[in-house]
Amino acid sequence: MRVSPAIIQRIAVVFMWALAAITFAVLVFILAYVLLHGLPHVTWSFLTQSPANMGRAGGIFPMILGTFLVSGLSVLVAAPVGVATAIYLTEYTHEGRMTAVIRFGADCLAGVPSIIFGLFGFVFFAITLRMGLSVLSGSLTLALMVLPTIIRTSEEAIRAVPDTYRQVSYGLGSTRWQMVLYVVLRSAIPGISTGIVLSLGRCISETAAVMLTAGSALRLPRSLFDSSRTLALHFYILSREGISMANAYATASVLIIAILALNLLAYWLMRKFVAKVGR
């Protein structure tokens, strides 16, 4: 017996709707579970005080600052290098063996587990370059980790800029650099910033690599050469070592809200930018 296409269509719709609903439900469940356990413990003093008794009491202010420093610095290092590499690959070279090798290398690096980056950062930055377990070692390691993502997303964004813009710019007598700066980057900014924000999110939530390079000191970092514990690592240690599940969930809630806020901010900035240039 043949089933009519209309019925198959209905089945397909229900099937896809169910899968989408499951995805959404899992997401909501995880978020709700963490926030319900954690939010009641998030108080003003929790956000502003230093931890006491290994994190059983007190707050997470040094971890907030540590997370901010480590992930901020890593994106500050990785973004210019990554965007410059993307510009070089797309605008300043012809496709050849070398661009293929660079691109292949970036893709391979993007797939390397973060703990390997952690190990490399530990051996290279912390030991060989004598930076020790520090904010600097941690952020340089994370910068290396997110560099491939920034390169590839920027490259895609730059490639999507219509070629006619480049021709018009040359046609008006601009140099290549002026063309890149005024036309290509301007049009590619939404795509490039998406890649950077994704990378920032990955830096904020990274655990393995920062444990090996930034360390897990509880005190407030005073300089870039101080060890510092990030929020994600704090959560890991609190729960793994059974120190305080309540504070672990509270830390996780702060982490989730921070990343949510970051994404919303990026989304809002992008909307604003896009509205301004009319695309």
Partner: protein, 251 residues
């Protein structure tokens, strides 16, 4: 009439493909010259040779001479930025940048170093006036150019080129993305601009060449078959191939 541009034995290869062979074309000052011919005959390539836009294509090779006011622009010492300022180009599709109307017209001046808005504004105004856009857009200078109609966008693209005060305007099928009414108005604009500029237009549309051009060149398979006053080319061509094309036998 004075010669503005002259190509002498111009050969151009894209890799192994011989796109232009031995083109000798004189373009007279302050009139419209049309280049016609079937698709793939090399007319756009020829146009793009006149301000060296073909340099952007990987693997292109050029031989011969292209004289602009008697000076060979193919010489390695040519300042490309200055050349393209003198010889501006309008493209097939209206392609304003995703910027405001003002920033589009001011773009060329800015890349040549003029950043002060007080100096840019009069040029933006006169450029928009020369394409009859000023009255429509004077209150919308800061809105996005992408919100304009296709015809307005193409006029804006012409204003953008006019703003850097070129001597020659190259137009690569400037009306092919427009409706017939807009096409007619852009043609009026071309005729109005012809007094101040040397205009070279590539067109698919033989009627368009007949309507606007004082001089017409016919190309086929990378060769310049015939060039002369437009009326001669259409009514009294010397070459059999030109006659076949303008009478609609092929193309």
């Amino acid at each position: 009439m004075a010669k503005k541009i002259e190509t002498q034995g111009l050969d151009l290869y894209y890799g192994k493909f011989h796109a232009l062979s031995g083109v000798n074309l004189s373009i007279e000052s302050h009139v419209i010259t049309a280049i016609i011919g079937p698709s793939g005959c090399g007319k756009s390539t020829l146009l793009r040779s006149l301000n060296r836009m073909n340099d952007l294509v990987h693997g292109v090779r050029v031989a011969g001479r292209v004289l602009l006011d008697g000076v060979d622009i193919l010489a390695p010492s040519t300042n490309l930025s200055l050349l393209r300022r003198r010889v501006g180009m309008v493209f097939q599709r209206p392609n304003p940048f995703p910027l405001s109307v003002f920033d589009n017209v001011a773009y060329g001046l800015r890349v040549h170093g003029e950043m002060r808005r007080s100096h840019l504004l009069p040029v933006v105004e006169s450029s928009l006036q020369s394409t009859l856009l000023w009255d429509e857009l004077k209150d919308k200078l800061d809105s996005s150019a992408l919100e304009l109609s296709p015809e307005q966008q193409q006029r804006l693209c012409i204003s953008r080129v006019v703003a850097v005060k070129p001597e020659v305007l190259l137009m690569d099928e400037p009306c092919s993305a427009l409706d017939p009414i807009a096409t007619g108005r852009i043609e009026d604009l071309m005729r109005a601009l012809a007094g101040g500029y040397t205009i070279v237009i590539v067109t698919h549309n033989m009627q368009q060449a007949a309507r606007v051009a004082a001089q017409t060149a016919y190309m086929l398979l990378g060769e310049l078959v015939e060039v002369g006053p437009t009326a001669h080319i259409f009514e009294n061509p010397k070459d059999k191939r030109t006659e076949d094309y303008v009478s609609g036998l092929y193309g």
